[in-house]
Subunit: 117 residues, 2 copies
DNA sequence: TGAATACATTCACATATCTGAATGTCTGCA
DNA sequence: TGCAGACATTCAGATATGTGAATGTATTCA
């Protein structure tokens, strides 16, 4: 694997790993939206929304097309939604596991790594 | 969707969005490894490896079990690998698209958003 | 019990990222 | 051409994150 593979990979991950940008992607999940609509949907300020859209655009995560005085954004690659959903599943399963739900086994809540038989 | 959903979600993403942690996950991809083995595989220092393993452990991304004087790490949920691979695909397709490969259409290289017919 | 190995943690500092405020640019319309 | 609406960008301060150095803890073995 190329030496900078992980760098590119984590770079894309970093782009996705922002609460605000996730909110934007959540809003764009099913439809193309203008910036104003994204602002309304996310409750963020216009300037901050633009900043994050700029980052998403630069990384090729979203597409932008001008439509009159509006600019309409959409998610560039449907696999991003798939990845998003996969992370959601992992998150849910991890939360369950941390609650000790699986097999009814409860691990020590502190960070200790215990010795097992 | 719950208000802190995106927070939890991006939190997990942030955990994955580190070049070093990705290198660790890459090493753990197919096998359980001791810390020493991870250090060798990644070329990172022992202390730094431990720091990142600690973060991965805290977020439930990896499992740790003691085996004698060693501690063996493994990836907690195979879906993390799936997500990893999905991101890889998106990354590859985005790079191709940015090179203007798709449909032979080359977009302006600067950040401009042009008006289309 | 003491030394050695394997690993974890803490601290202080450097670096990156996020944010709001202010301002700039583009488009449509009068 | 001038104004208004829609959106982007820049800047500076705040906050978060990553890093090496030093040190601590647990386990094995003599």
């Amino acid at each position: 694997m190329a030496q900078d593979f992980f760098c590119l990979h984590s770079d894309l991950c970093k782009t996705l790993a922002s609460e605000k940008r996730q909110r934007i992607l959540g809003a764009l999940r099913d439809e193309e939206l203008t910036v104003s609509q994204i602002v309304t949907a996310t409750g963020m300020t216009q300037a901050n929304t633009s900043q994050h859209l700029s980052i998403l655009r630069a990384k090729g995560v979203v597409n932008a097309r001008r439509d009159g005085s509006n600019i309409r954004y959409s998610i560039a690659n449907p696999k991003i939604i798939q990845a998003f959903d996969l992370i959601t599943e992992v998150m849910q399963e991890t939360l369950d596991a941390q609650r000790g739900v699986v097999d009814g086994i409860v691990e020590p809540a502190d960070g200790r790594i215990v010795t097992k038989a």
